[in-house]
Amino acid sequence: MKFKLKVDFRAFVCHNFWWKMTALVLAIIVWYYVKGEISTGGIKI
């Protein structure tokens, strides 16, 4: 059972790996940008 879980997790991570990484990088960039804009008053909430 343990072995199966390990294999499934690996498959989950490896499946569309580069799409996942690009999405993560983009998410971080967007978050930092919006957060920075909010702190400097560029975006008013």
Partner: protein
Amino acid sequence: MIQEFFKLLLMPFQDWRYLLEILILWMVIYRIFIFLKGTKAVYVLRGIIILLISFVISQWFGFYVLNWILTKLFAFFLILVAIVFQPELREGLVRLGKPHFFPLELKQEEIDQLIKEIVIALTRMAKKRIGALIAIKREISLNNFIDTGISLKADLSAELLENIFYPSSPLHDGGVIIEGTTVLCASALFPLTDNPNIERRLGMRHRAAVGISEASDAVVLIVSEENGAVSMAINGQLTRNLSAEDLLTILKGQLRREK
């Protein structure tokens, strides 16, 4: 300077909500990527990502002229995307609100019968190398394609399917559309995919199968005239060389009734 950089870098770890925000953003962006993967929109997506990264870099380093140009270009690009990819966007919104289960009021026995008849017909046609193209309607309407074919509205049977695709039959060209246990039409024209990842040696039948599976949520089955191989297209993805057992398993999974 370095201290400030690290302070900025560690900012998301100061509050669990920041990390959650990034996680949610990550999931949303990833879903958009997967939705666009394999379509021509992916090239536009690359352009948007490059523009976005250039925009953020120019903002951080204070390249104000570049930043102004990129801002205008980005707004123009978004409008262009909305116009060019209007059908894909509409389809995406339709899919977003649709559950993924067999929608018809069919009993489990009827679904089993439907699958059995289709598998029998495909196996026999594959043996005889008779080309076939069958789309099984699920949630999204196929009315546009039904109108291009010859209306049948006949009870589904393996014999009927074989008869339709028999090479000298007047209805053998084009595709068959099935809804529930009814063959709605034959000789229907399906749109050809322009997905560049589809092998060039695959014929029009396979391209049409992938095309209609991109335009709807239909399960599309193909028998190759050349080698009798059975393939299946779902959501623009083509699975080739399926055995009768594979077909049975996949169809049971795809056409299952909601519990």
